[in-house]
């Protein structure tokens, strides 16, 4: 319960600041850039949403309903972009397509120096990059839905004389709607969270605004109000997702049957399908990774910066390990609390403590800032002066922010593995006189240690990739790998950024590969998972759920 309070506290501060708007701050914001920021954010959300829906949903249908060369391999490789952080793909994209990039140079070479080229530093380009890294959320959920929920409906529609396309529109899409909505919600949450990637493209979203207002002017009030607005956006996303789900929430887990029998695409059609899927994969993963490798290999400075990489890497690892230990420890406590108590309060507290992941990272960060400010004020009124606590932030604040954000991931993973320990084991132990701590230590932890290890790994990797929170909360001089990548990239020092970026991508590939293998296994195994769309929870908790279930 105390955990729930600690988790919700930062959010409370943001909500409070939204509920008690300061007129001065608002009027100033309004005069300057607020209207643009709101419009840009909306536009970006719509574009990325539409993009991921078309790319993710389309690819999911392609690999589900058709057979074409390389289908099986592509069907799991298409998940890989999940391992590519937006702030990495963003700068690679910029380098390749930007004014001095090979694409534009070739273009000008062919059509003359004044040939028109679309503006790269634009909201369109940012949306394209985010679409490429975020479409796997929609892709994953849609594939599960297509395969499990909609398979028998599709078969019935075909037997009633529908063409595949018509069956898709009339039977499959309506049934898959909740899953698509859930995937879309995840995408939008991630879009709201991001402010690093969009800044490469000079796009001013609300989240980017938070960063600039805070890091540029240390204007806490303005940052808090903006964070409140972002939170509002997130709430709207959740509400829309719920309503899109509609009654489908109650749908029986359909007898998925044997799944959709894929149709063979012959001749050039098959190759077009292969090429389309490969192109997406190439643009989102293969090409950028190749470019990074080339840079890293050819960069003379890489050797010189090795020492610094070591420092940043150890910072990152330290953060990741502390966060993982903390989150998993709390996760074990929370997951067990609901087993030992059937009181509603405990259950509600568990649900609340998981809310952090549905809240965009900048909001979490600003909430933590406000909390620290309040603490600071209290300490000062008590006569204790901790100089610079607020302005410079502290590693503790970063860890706190991470914990709030990733707790859901830890709790859901630990819960999923604890669920496999039968209640009777716990009850037998209790009737044998064992206290709850003894049961947790002797039975629950040993019996769910695989799940706990998975949770720790997932949290650690997410913490390693995390950029927005650390950017907002880090103390001066405290850099992690993502921060360093981002700074180098912002200064167009792409070659230098390549090696640390590769390290991040490599670490992120690990859980994605495990997930892909799991999915491939499911493909041949019995249809077991409930096809209902998961809650708008953690992007990564979706993966976690997949991993451990």
């Amino acid at each position: 319960m105390a955990i729930a309070v600690v988790v919700v506290l930062p959010l409370g501060f943001v909500v409070a600041s939204l509920l008690s708007p300061s007129f001065d701050v608002w009027s100033q914001l309004w005069r300057t850039r607020l209207p643009t920021m709101v419009l840009t954010t909306l536009g970006l959300l719509v574009m990325v949403g539409a993009g991921t829906l078309i790319v993710g949903g389309g690819l999911a249908w392609l690999v589900t309903a058709y057979r074409f060369p390389g289908r099986r391999l592509l069907s799991w490789l298409l998940v890989l972009p999940l391992a590519m952080p937006g702030y990495v793909l963003g700068f690679v994209f910029l380098s390749l397509v930007g004014f001095t990039g090979p694409l534009q140079r070739g273009w000008r070479g062919a059509l003359g120096a004044d040939a028109w080229f679309p503006q790269v530093r634009s909201v369109w380009a940012a949306a394209l990059v985010l679409t490429l890294v975020l479409y796997p959320y929609v892709y994953l959920l849609a594939r599960v839905a297509f395969r499990e929920t909609a398979a028998s409906a599709y078969d019935v529609a075909r037997s009633l004389g529908c063409t595949p396309w018509r069956a898709f529109r009339r039977a499959v899409l309506p049934l898959a709607r909740p899953a698509l909505a859930a995937g879309l919600a995840l995408v939008m949450m991630e879009t709201l969270t991001d402010f690093a990637t969009v800044q490469y493209f000079g796009v001013e979203t609300l989240s980017a605004g938070i960063y600039q207002v805070w890091r540029g002017m240390y204007d806490r009030d303005a940052a808090a109000e903006l964070a409140g607005l972002v939170l509002l956006f997130a709430l709207v996303v959740i509400v829309v997702e719920r309503s899109l789900r509609g009654r489908a929430r109650y749908a029986e887990p359909g007898a998925g049957g044997a799944g959709i029998e894929p149709q063979q695409l012959r001749g050039w059609r098959g190759w077009v399908a292969t090429a389309t899927a490969s192109a997406v994969l190439a643009a989102a993963f293969v090409a950028p990774v190749t470019q990074l490798v080339v840079w890293a290999a050819g960069d003379g400075r890489a050797a010189r910066s090795f020492e610094r990489i070591g420092t940043y890497l150890s910072n990152s690892i330290m953060l990741a390990v502390i966060t993982a230990v903390l989150v998993v420890g709390l996760g074990v406590v929370i997951a067990n609390a609901s087993r030992f108590s059937d009181r509603r309060m405990v259950r509600a507290a568990t649900r609340i403590s998981v809310a952090g992941y549905a809240v965009p990272a900048p909001v979490v960060a600003i909430g933590v800032l406000l909390l620290i400010a309040a603490l600071d004020a209290i300490l000062r009124s008590l006569g204790i002066r901790v100089s610079g606590l607020l302005v410079t932030g502290s590693v503790a604040a970063v860890v706190y922010g991470y914990t709030v954000r990733f707790l859901a991931l830890g709790v859901t993973s630990v819960e999923a593995s604890l669920a496999k320990v039968p209640d009777e084991i716990t009850q037998s132990a209790r009737s044998l006189g064992a206290s709850s701590t003894r049961i947790i230590a002797r039975l629950h932890v040993p019996l769910s240690r695989a799940g706990i290890a998975t949770a720790a790994m997932l949290v650690a990797i997410e913490a390693m990739k995390e950029l927005p929170i650390v950017l907002l909360l880090r103390p001066f001089g405290f850099d992690t790998l993502p921060v360093w990548v981002w700074q180098l990239a912002a200064e167009s020092l792409w070659e230098a950024a390549a090696l640390p970026a590769l390290i991040i991508v490599a670490a992120s590939v690990l859980p994605v590969a495990v997930l892909s293998r799991q999915l491939a296994k499911d493909e041949h195994g019995p249809v077991s998972r409930r096809p209902t769309a998961p809650d708008v929870a953690p992007a990564a908790a979706v993966r976690a759920g997949e991993l451990v279930s």
Binding site: D342, I425, Q427, S428, A429, S431, L432, G433, L447
Partner: protein, 401 residues
Amino acid sequence: MTSSTEHGDPPAVTDAPPALEVRDLGKRYGDTQAVDGIGFDLDAHEILCLVGPSGCGKSTVLRMLAGLVTPDSGQVVLAGRTVDGPDGHLAPERRGVGIVFQEHALFPNLTVEANVGFGLAGLGRSRRRARVTEMLALVALEDHAARYPHELSGGERQRVALARALAPAPSVLLLDEPFASLDQNLRVQVRDQVVSVLRATGTPAVFVTHDQGEALALGDRILVLRHGRVAQIGTPQGIFHAPVDRFVAAFMGDADFLPARVVDAVVESELGERPAPDAPPTHAVELVVRPDDVSFDVSPTGSAVIDGVEFQGESNLYRLRLASGAVVRSRRPHTEVVPVGGQVTARFSDHHRSPVLIAGSEPSGPRRDDPQALPEPAAVRTSTDRNRNAASASSSESSFL
């Protein structure tokens, strides 16, 4: 037979308090009253079977006794100590009640020895070891101490679970469908072993089962539950031969029901007449007829027809359609073969005991808070006074033969 089953008599005064007293226990889940005012006593050394169809609340009762579920109302008194009641709820780990589950719930990460020793944390090392050895000897698994649960057979696991639950010398042992996960051949064998261990240690026990055959074989007494209420409590013989209503009659063994009339202390039915000296006169009643009570003779002029036959190994179970259209079953030796469709004369078999009369329509289940008031050997309940007369009717000697 224990004191509390002696119907009509005041409960015998014993020196020791009952091992377990349950009073008016209730539990509600949402809109469902899972358990509704259950009450019974368990004497020292007694084995009680809680039996009923799935969803009747029997497992919930067991979990409440163990303290795993907190009752909404009522009292549980364990060996004289109130563990559930108006003054609160004692946590399961502090009750000293043993529990054995259907799936055994052995701790898979611990050896047999560590499993059995789990509840002996308070004991010193050497005493704990001695107790574990003693318990393993009791269930004949001394040489399996170092094994892990997955290395044991189903029956062995069951015995480990029993040894583990008995090791801390619980005041009561609760068993939740403990044999349901074993296959049929093993079940009887393990059941006998478990009962003999319980007898040897003198541990009073409450079994939950949905298998009426198991209940009849195991229990000193049986408590039949229906919709969370006590339908009947009594000895196996009492419940089998004198069910209080249609539900108990049908649940505890095969039973058919025949309309009958009582005229001048004689029960008249389609299968013939039987004297019933104490039956209330001239009321339409229903007769419980079990397959062993019915016999027939092949006769071309017989008014009954063989409707079907089920081969059951050592016997054949015939379905007879009587002239009125009523259907009764008759169990005959397998040596005797009568073709389906043949005409027969149906009658009570020669060894037929007292006919059991119950009310003409199925009652909704008796509501009684005091188990002592429950009818014991037989209940005659007529359609006019069916709800309140049961106790007085049962206190008379109700053999109608």
